[in-house]
C-alpha cells in the first residue's frame, strides 16, 4: 500500500480571486501582516502496491489528465509513508 500526495496550485500568472477573498477576510480578522494568499488543492491517493517510479509516473499522468487543468494549473507530487 502506498500513499501519493498531489498538490495543485493555479499557475502564478492566473488571477486567484478566492485567495484574494481569503486575504481580505484574514485582514478583517486582524492578521494584518499577511500580504498574499493563494488557494490550491491537495489530493491524497491510496495506491495498491509500492510507490515506485512506474506508480509515480502513472500518478503524474493522472494528474495531467484529470486532477489538474494544465492550461491554468500546475502540480507537484510525492509519495508519503
Amino acid at each position: 500500500m502506498a500513499r501519493v500526495i498531489v498538490e495543485v496550485m493555479l499557475k502564478p500568472e492566473i488571477h486567484d480571486p478566492q485567495g484574494e477573498a481569503v486575504l481580505s477576510a484574514s485582514h478583517r480578522l486582524g492578521f494584518g501582516n499577511i500580504t498574499g494568499v493563494r488557494q490550491g488543492k491537495r489530493f491524497e491517493l491510496e495506491i495498491d502496491g509500492p510507490a515506485d517510479d512506474t506508480t509515480l509516473a502513472a500518478v503524474e499522468e493522472l494528474a495531467r489528465e484529470l486532477l489538474t487543468n494544465p492550461v491554468i494549473e500546475e502540480f507537484s507530487l510525492r509519495s508519503e509513508g
Binding site: H15, P17, E20, L66, V71, I72
Partner: protein, 220 residues
C-alpha cells in the same frame, strides 16, 4: 445532458423555435442519435466537482462527440458546455472564477465578431446582442500566445461590448475551433433570449437559426 445540467430544456425550446427537432442525448450513452448538430447545455454538471466540466468531459457521450466534432459536426457549448469543450481540448484555454468572485446573473451586450461559424452565420459582423450571463466561473483565460492566435485567426466569436463583467481575457465571451469553425463555445446563454416574452430579447435565436438554415441550404 449530464447529471446536473440545467438549461437543456431551454436549449431544446430554442431548437424548436428555430424550426428543427431537438433530440435529447444522455451522458452515459455512446450515442449521438443521428443528430446533425449537438448543443452542450449550461448548468452544473457533476456539481462542478473537481473543476467545472472536468468530469463530464470523460462521459461516454463525449467519447462519441469528440471525434465527431473533429470531423466537422457542429457543436455549440453554452456556459458549462463551453467549460466542457475546453476541458475536452476541443477549444483552447480555460474558464476561471469570475474576478470579483460573485456569481453574475445579468443581461450583457455582446458584439458578434465572427459570422462565418455554423452557429453565427445569421448575424451581421459587429451586430450587438442582449443575452443573459449566468455564471460564477466565466472568465476566459489562456496564455498570451493563444490569445494572440485567436485574435489573429478571427476565432473570437463574441466579445463583451463595453468590457467583460467577469475578468475574461480580452473581453472574450465566446470562441470557435475545429476545421470549419464548427465548434463554438460561449459563456452567455442565447437560449434564454429567444422570445421577448421570456427573456431580454430574441437576439439569441440566431445561434440556433443559423445552424438550422445551414442544413436547409445543404439540402436545397
Amino acid at each position: 445532458m449530464f447529471p446536473g445540467s440545467l438549461d437543456d430544456t431551454d436549449a431544446a425550446r430554442a431548437v424548436r423555435y428555430a424550426g428543427a427537432q431537438p433530440v435529447s442525448l444522455w451522458h452515459a450513452d455512446r450515442d449521438l442519435r443521428g443528430a446533425d448538430a449537438v448543443i452542450l447545455p449550461g448548468g452544473f454538471s457533476y456539481g462542478d466537482y473537481l473543476r467545472c466540466g472536468a468530469i463530464a468531459r470523460f462521459s461516454p457521450v463525449m467519447a462519441e462527440l469528440v471525434p465527431a466534432a473533429r470531423a466537422g459536426l457542429p457543436v455549440l457549448g453554452i456556459c458549462n458546455g463551453f467549460q466542457i469543450l475546453c476541458e475536452a481540448h476541443l477549444l483552447p484555454g480555460a474558464l476561471t472564477r469570475n474576478d470579483r468572485l460573485r456569481f453574475i446573473t445579468r443581461d450583457v451586450r455582446l458584439r458578434v465578431e465572427n459570422t462565418r461559424t455554423a452557429w453565427t452565420r445569421g448575424y451581421e459582423t459587429g451586430e450587438e446582442l442582449t443575452i443573459p450571463l449566468k455564471s460564477g466561473e466565466g472568465a476566459y483565460a489562456a496564455d498570451q500566445a493563444t490569445l494572440d492566435e485567436l485574435e489573429k485567426t478571427g476565432r473570437i466569436v463574441v466579445r463583451y461590448a463595453g468590457g467583460a463583467p467577469n475578468g475574461a481575457a480580452r473581453d472574450i465571451a465566446g470562441i470557435c475551433g475545429g476545421d470549419n469553425s464548427n465548434i463554438v463555445g460561449l459563456m452567455p446563454h442565447p437560449e434564454h433570449a429567444i422570445d421577448p416574452l421570456t427573456g431580454p430579447s430574441a437576439d439569441g435565436l440566431g445561434f440556433f437559426a443559423s445552424v438550422v438554415k445551414s442544413f436547409a441550404g445543404a439540402l436545397g
